[in-house]
């Protein structure tokens, strides 16, 4: 019973509050056009099998792998970062592009882009509405992974604040990958191409932050120095250190600013891609 109340206080209520704030912003702050597109987009995720399939795949992989292979149960510590959260971005490299691949490429394939862009709305309305809908799908996916939290709380007394931080960090990474996918899907009308290219870029973003790369950068010598700017860029954009910091419960402003800026930049890039498509 105690565990239940703890779970309610530590997870359910914050989740409900965040959702309520989101709904409030959607209904009272954002223009009607964003809301209409958001609703349509979200509905189409759930009228097609895509959302359900991705839920099953994501939850299946993340839970199975952490329970059986990474030793949540054997660890003896009530900590989820090492056995669980540090692996989530690896799955998200695949899952987030799978959620986002249809955002704009589907619109181009069906020709509805022509319809949408001749309606009285600014392109950012559509970009934001679609992005938020896909974001909510990813959010729902993380919410549905609550059994692992429940298990940990049942077995011991973990620091739920840190677990929450893990979820927040994971959500930020998912939204980052989704933003990248939004840009790519605006460039191509093929969902498959959008998926593959986005996965490649997300993988690079994720691995770019590997500590090894930073070390490598410091030790670059001779002719290899020509690669320095590219490697440095990848390294700077690397999502991993920001994720790790956040997930360990260090709520650094720097990391949040990084994620928010990154997402905003990608959404802006999406609008540029759409404008170039039309010209």
């Amino acid at each position: 019973m105690d565990a239940f109340i703890t779970l309610l206080l530590d997870f359910a209520i914050p989740t409900i509050i965040v959702s309520a704030i989101f709904v409030g912003i959607l209904f009272y702050v954002l223009p009607r056009e964003v809301r209409t597109i958001f609703k349509r987009e979200l509905k189409s995720y759930f009228t097609s099998p895509i959302a359900y399939v991705l839920f099953v795949v994501f939850l299946g992989i993340s839970n199975t792998l952490s329970f059986f292979f990474t030793g949540v149960l054997e660890g003896g510590e009530a900590d989820l970062f090492l056995p669980y959260f540090q692996y989530l971005p690896w799955y998200l490299v695949l899952i987030a592009p799978a959620v986002g691949m249809r955002l704009w490429s589907e619109e181009q394939r069906l020709g509805t882009m022509e319809l949408m862009l001749t309606m009285p709305l600014a392109p950012w309305h559509a970009i934001l509405g679609k992005y938020l809908a896909a974001g909510v799908v990813l959010f729902a996916m993380l919410v549905l992974s609550f059994p692992i939290v429940w298990t940990i709380n049942f077995l011991g007394e973990p620091d739920n604040g840190v677990i929450m931080a893990g979820f927040v960090a994971t959500l930020f990474v998912a939204l980052c990958f989704l933003a990248v996918t939004s840009v790519i899907s605006a460039i191509t009308r093929s969902q498959l191409v959008a998926l593959l290219v986005s996965v490649a870029i997300c993988m690079m973003l994720w691995l770019g932050g590997l500590p090894h790369l930073s070390e490598l950068l410091m030790n670059l010598k001779g002719g290899w120095l020509v690669f320095w700017p590219i490697l440095k860029l990848i390294n700077v954009l690397g999502v991993m250190p920001h994720f790790t910091e956040l997930a360990k419960g260090v709520l650094g402003l720097r990391d949040i600013v990084f994620f928010v800026t990154f997402i905003a930049f990608c959404l802006f890039a999406t609008s540029v891609a759409i404008r170039l498509k039309r010209a």
């Binding site: 209409t36 349509r40 069906l110 509805t112 862009l117 709305l121 600014a122 039309r278």
Partner: protein
């Protein structure tokens, strides 16, 4: 209502639209004719604000489509050529979505959807998913979407494409009726459609406007405009033909049938003499005491004009 000034569109080095200008006032239905690839759709896409023009200006009801984009777009209803739809929605849900996007006030959405469904005869498929619709229904669903907010300006890219003859007729009547209170542009390949529904037509070829006028004015420009069809007997055909060829007003005589008792022929007018031709032909018949079985003045044919001017240009 719609003002298009010196519109250009280049795709790389290819010039798709090359200085098109026209205006459409309220109460006018402008037919847009031209061979495939002439730049009709590109022009329409620029008028609706989907494609930015390389050069030139489009104003809708006084709002510049580029500077005052949202305001201008809210006045337009647009049916794109391929009639695109979201395939995962039902007809009604799609129209509801369109109504919300086209800024129909929340309280009036239901009425607007019902009205659009009724006007475009979509009642039987109202709750059907879009991806199960036949081509005609898909087209009409997209058409319904364009009129859902009762726009001042309607731009229809081949609105009767994929419809059966009855539906074509209904849509034409609908366009004509709506044209009384709106400014409408529609493109088509079907020339009778222009006569049936348009108050004015322009023919566009390789990005340029090559003819602009009412259907009657355009028809008068065809070489057969004012031709006289004559069926007469009382003299050998060759004799009648010789008499007809002597006429000043006759440009050429096409013999359709001829024997030793009479002739059936089309007499085309000489340039600028169309109005004298029938009297002259009648005079010949009277002089030679022929019995006239048929004498008919032909109207110009739009398809002929279309072929003449689009082909003439192609030969250059």
């Amino acid at each position: 209502m719609i003002e298009v000034e010196n519109l250009h569109k280049h795709f790389g080095s290819k010039v798709a639209v090359d200085g098109v200008s026209f205006t459409v006032k309220k109460g006018e239905v402008l037919g847009f004719l031209g061979p495939n690839g002439a730049g009709k759709s590109t022009t329409m896409r620029m008028v609706t604000g989907f494609l930015p023009p390389t050069k030139g200006r489009v104003t809708i009801g006084g709002c510049d489509i580029e500077e005052n984009e949202i305001e201008a777009k809210s006045k337009i209803g647009y049916l794109p050529e391929a009639a695109p739809l979201y395939s995962d929605m039902t007809v009604e849900a799609f129209l509801r979505f369109a109504a919300e996007m086209r800024r129909v006030p929340a309280g009036e959405i239901k009425a607007a959807v019902d009205r659009a469904i009724e006007t475009t005869f979509l009642e039987p498929v109202r709750h059907q998913s879009v991806d199960t619709l036949s081509k005609g229904y898909r087209h009409r669903t997209c058409f319904a979407q364009s009129i859902i907010h009762d726009p001042e300006v309607l731009i229809l890219d081949e609105p009767t494409d994929g419809l059966d003859p009855n539906q074509k007729q209904e849509i034409r009547q609908l366009i004509r009726r709506m044209g009384e209170t709106k400014a409408i542009i529609f493109s088509t390949h079907i020339l009778e459609e222009v006569e049936a529904a348009c108050t004015r037509a322009i023919i566009i070829d390789r990005g340029k406007v090559i003819a602009d006028g009412t259907p009657a004015e355009l028809k008068a420009r065809a070489t057969n405009a004012g031709s006289v069809l004559l069926r007469a007997s009382g003299l050998a055909g060759s004799g009648i033909r010789a008499e007809l060829e002597k006429l000043d007003a006759a440009g050429s005589v096409e013999v359709i049938a001829s024997d030793d008792k009479g002739i059936t022929a089309r007499i085309n007018p000489a340039k600028g003499k169309a109005n004298q031709l029938s009297a002259a032909v009648f005079g010949v018949c009277k002089d030679k005491n022929l019995s006239v079985e048929e004498l008919r003045i032909e109207e110009g044919r739009l398809d002929l004009l279309f072929r003449e001017i689009t082909k003439k240009d192609a030969d250059k």
